[in-house]
Amino acid sequence: MDTIAFQGLIGLSLAMYLWLISAGLTIIFGVLRIVNFAHGSLFMMGAYLAFTFYGQLGLPFWLAILLSLLGVGLLGLVMERFFLRRIYSIDEAYQLLLTFGFILILDDAVKIIWGGVFKIPPIPAFLDGAWRAFGRPFPVYNAFVIAVGLLVAVLLWALFEKSWWGRIVRATASDREMANAIGVNVPRVFSGVFMFGSMLAALGGAMGTPVRVASPGIGAAMIIQAFIITVIGGLGNLKGAFVSSLMVGILSAYGTLFFPVFELFFIFVIMVVVLLVRPQGLFAR
């Protein structure tokens, strides 16, 4: 019984990682209607910046995360303002090409700046160690990630449901032309949303590095997971991404417990099953 409960906790922390990497992707799709395949690369940049600020420069943990978010937010702003903006009105294949181009550019940039070897920053002292849960040691850092994931979920809900910026973004997402006609500066909303989504990717990366290594190429691995979560939840649906993360995280944890050889495989099985039953995802927009 303890094993089952403990594995649930493991699943929950996995779910919160998945949630942090997919939330920004689905928000960007919901508003701008583009799939940003470089989202995983923004995650990677967040990881490397956090490594530099915390692991190399020795800045305080929170400050390092904040600076990583701002750095990646700025990168996202440049990507949207000077590149993506030019291709909204043309064929979707160009979105794929352009964002894939960014994956290659950022992978190489990382190799040039940080080198090709793995980087693992230390876990901050106050988050190091383990608590006992159901008779087993549970890493404090994982509990921290669960808390951050849930906090992000609550904050995003409040932002989109209760703030005027959120309502303006929702109005733009549902009808960008009409939003424009009532006075919404739609290009600026797009920039803001893309920047915001990039910062969420960076948060996932910055939080993830102490337990998952930063390496060139993790962007490509991350985008596959994030994309699957988003598709299962319904592209562009934030609640869907949250539920889908929980489902995939927890089912994968139990699946791994009973069928360890299929560990990397469960996310695909879940996607196939969900899409066979509901091709539009759990929560269609």
């Binding site: 005027w164 309502r167 303006i168 929702r170 109005a171 549902s174 009808d175 032309e177 009409m178 939003a179 424009n180 006609a181 009532i182 006075g183 919404v184 500066n185 739609v186």
Partner: protein, 233 residues
């Protein structure tokens, strides 16, 4: 002069939908574009609003050229727009659909949420309802109220009477009269000559993207031949 449109040409792809339209709206006037379905009324209004940028011609609002400007800039200059298909934001409430306009245009003035509720008494009872659940008529009223929330000096209404019950048309006529009394200039497009005659001073008849007639609506009403030729179904 509130609005001057000069030699407007607008196309969708290869087909010229508007082929050189010129029209004027004087401050304080109510002007109505008339014509059958597909004549080019909606496209003319969309071109003025910047939603379908014209290929050629000029749009001048209060002496200032606005041709090719972004719709949000035109809205912030004081042009309100209610489209024929209403386009209420489905997951915002009635009140949020109104309030959002005040927030994004930053144009404070005599039109407030409460004032819009007075104008359309069926709206306050629905203030917490999401846009997606409203009836067509309710959406129509809300679309007009939403356009007013930017405190426009020029209000553009596309097919305001379309699909409304006779009772709602009556409410609409009263509302347009009150809006006018508040000093707002109106440019409408409607197929319903009877309705247009009750609210508008002057009209333009559009057919195949050009203006075929312009004049006072009372004169037009009396000219059976023109009505039969351009407006009768």
């Amino acid at each position: 002069m509130m609005l001057e449109v000069r030699d407007l040409v607008t196309a969708y792809g290869q087909s010229l939908v508007i082929q050189g339209i010129s029209l004027d709206v004087t401050t304080g006037e109510v002007v109505c574009l008339l014509g059958r379905n597909g004549a080019g009324k909606t496209t003319t209004l969309r071109s003025i609003m910047g939603l379908t940028p014209p290929r050629a011609g000029r749009v001048i609002f209060k002496g200032k050229e606005i041709t090719g400007r972004q719709p949000f800039e035109i809205a912030r200059l004081g042009v309100g727009y209610a489209p024929d298909d209403r386009r209420i934001f489905p997951d915002l409430t009635v009140e949020e659909n109104l309030e959002i306009v005040r927030r994004v245009t930053g144009r404070e003035g005599r039109w407030t949420v409460e004032r819009v509720y007075q104008l359309f008494p069926l709206l306050p009872g629905l203030r917490g309802n999401r846009g997606i659940g409203l009836s067509g008529g309710e959406q129509k009223m809300l679309a007009i109220g939403r356009a007013l929330m930017g405190n426009p000096t020029l209000l553009i209404l596309d097919e305001p009477s379309e699909g409304l019950s006779p009772l709602m048309v009556h409410t609409l006529v009263e509302a347009i009269r009150q809006i006018r009394q508040e000093g707002v200039t109106l440019l409408l497009a409607d197929q319903n000559l009877k309705f247009a005659r009750r609210v508008a001073d002057r009209g333009y008849i559009i057919e195949k993207g050009t203006i075929r007639y312009s004049g006072r609506l009372d004169d037009l009403w009396a000219d059976q031949e023109i009505v039969r030729k351009y407006l009768a179904v």
